[in-house]
């Protein structure tokens, strides 16, 4: 019976020691995250709450803010131009996501099936290069290329017998141009994602399907695409979140026009906030945009549950 008497204080000491080590480790952990925590708190967490708070006030920066309750949100749902900017953004975002994913997957499958090692590096470089230019640079030179009168694109279309396409000077043309430009720049991102996902498809699965007599198309749709579906979902979510924030290209190329054809949700926010100095209303629009992005991303994940195949 003597051993418990000895080991009891021993155990207690050990527990005390363990607790002290744990406390020291915790202190170290907090010290390590302190810097990131400070910046993320001040410049992300707090601003999210502040945006939410501001959305319940009327504030023009000059006079003190006044409580507005839900008035800013009510105003949003009866504000035709702003609602239209959301509609435009959603339509353009859908077009961008669909084109970017289809084209990215098509090119990735081609490279994956046919290209040599050199070919792979060459095409990867070619499709990635547009991502290295800033959106501002792209908006500038694409603006020249798509110019209705002097642009090289209409020149070449003219040789094919199609003349004077009003790319940036008509509402639908401007929307299409901006969609095309975003896809042109972003497709390399999707392409690189899909190529590395396709490379990771196990060879034995492909051999098995080949031995079972499946042709290339069948293998693609029945084996490869299901296997890389988590990557497709990821690419769709990222592309959609980015497209919903579309600002630089329409702001630089068309200033939201012609008329309000390319006034996106974020351009509306910029105008109400930084031009009309309605900070409360602009914050309400910002919160609605955030909720919309969260909702659609959630729907994407839910819908994908039925389709996406996780290994």
């Amino acid at each position: 019976m003597s051993s418990p008497a000895i080991s009891k204080p021993h155990r207690a000491v050990r527990r005390l020691g363990a607790r002290r080590t744990a406390r020291r480790e915790a202190a170290f952990g907090y010290a390590m995250i302190a810097l990131a925590m400070l910046f993320v708190t001040v410049f992300t967490f707090a601003p999210i709450l502040a945006s939410l708070g501001l959305s319940f006030f009327d504030w023009d920066v000059i006079s003190p803010p006044t409580w507005a309750g839900l008035a800013n949100y009510e105003r949003f749902f009866s504000d035709g131009p702003v609602l239209q900017s959301f509609g435009v953004t959603i339509c353009m975002a859908i077009a961008i996501v669909v084109l970017q994913l289809t084209l990215g997957l098509f090119l990735a499958v081609l490279v994956n099936q046919r290209a040599s090692r050199f070919g792979r590096t060459f095409f990867r470089t070619a499709f990635y290069l547009p991502l290295l230019a800033s959106t501002a640079a792209v908006a500038i030179f694409m603006g020249y290329l798509f110019d209705t009168k002097f642009g090289a694109i209409n020149y070449y279309l003219g040789l094919l017998g199609i003349s004077g396409v009003p790319w940036l000077s008509s509402p639908l043309g401007a929307q299409a141009t901006i969609v095309l430009i975003v896809v042109w720049q972003q497709v390399g991102f999707t392409f690189v994602l899909f190529v590395s996902a396709l490379m990771a498809v196990p060879t034995d699965v492909l051999e098995a399907s080949s031995i079972d007599g499946a042709g290339p198309l069948r293998t693609l749709f029945r084996i490869k695409i299901p296997l890389i579906s988590p990557t497709i979902l990821f690419a769709a979510v990222i592309a959609f979140i980015n497209a919903m924030q579309l600002f630089d290209q329409p702001f630089i190329m068309t200033k939201g026009g012609p008329g309000t054809a390319t006034t996106t949700a974020t351009i509306s926010m910029y105008q109400t906030g930084f031009q009309n100095l309605q900070f409360g209303y602009s914050s309400a629009i910002a919160i609605i945009l955030l909720l919309l992005i969260l909702a659609v991303t959630g729907i994407q994940f839910l819908a994908a549950r039925k389709v996406v195949f996780y290994q």
């Binding site: 910046f39 993320v40 290295l132 030179f141 002097f150 991102f189 990821f234 630089d248 955030l290």
Partner: protein
Amino acid sequence: MSTTTTIVTGRPDTRHPVVGRRRRAFSIGRIAGLIALILAAVFALGPLLWAVTTSLRTPAQAFENPPQWIPWNPDFGNYAAVFEQVPIGQFFLNSMIVTVLIVVGQTITCTLSGYAFAMVSFPGKNMIFGAFLATMMVPLQTIIIPVFLIIKSFGLTDSLASLIIPALGSAFGTFLMRQYFMQMPRELGEAARIDGATQFGVFWHVYARMAAPAISTLAILNFSGFWAEFYRPLIFLQSQSNFTLPLGLVGLQGNLGTGSISVVLAGVVLSMIPSVLLFIFAQRYFIAGVTAGSSR
């Protein structure tokens, strides 16, 4: 991360060893596929090549169609002109200061926090990390007004610091570094601890060194991202002497109207040089950066 690249480039093409017959049967398909790829590459590179070659034509020639795809008589006058018309050297310097300081700052904050979230246990860790992750979905535009007000209250409006300071911490960077540290064996640290290393010593001498690929990826993602940034400079900066390159170029285009596009294009081409150089020397980290987020 680097393994992705080796897989991409290093696997011999032994996918269908059986079917010499089928190969021939699909050779038309193969050629069509190759043509489609080359066509896509032409469309991807065409506008960039046009920007470069047109920047080498005289302002009068720049409007002529068809465009000259090979600069037989390159005219570098536009490159001199762009320096005369706007303080593009100043824009370049401003962009460099902002980008480099953000890259350095985020490397420090994200490496420290990413390590803590991966390797150190402390109360509330999962909750805090969850909060970090949740902010990754929040658009910049949603928080821009409060950030602008905070900047203003610090007296930093219209300064380079207004772009740098808010970007020094990053939820995405923390996430990226954590993912990398999570794959590292814990035994190394435990062994070093038994040998008497401090907790920080373990991080600094053992793990931080092993994290070089992830640090390079984060640094390169940040460099190309912040170098190209347009939205925050547009809102935070007012005086031309503080403009970064994208903002300055848009101003140049606006001032000149459609007067001499070749001068504007010279500026555009100059603005792309740092990212392109970086890409040439560190392509695999760009590729790793693309795939980094998808391994959630």
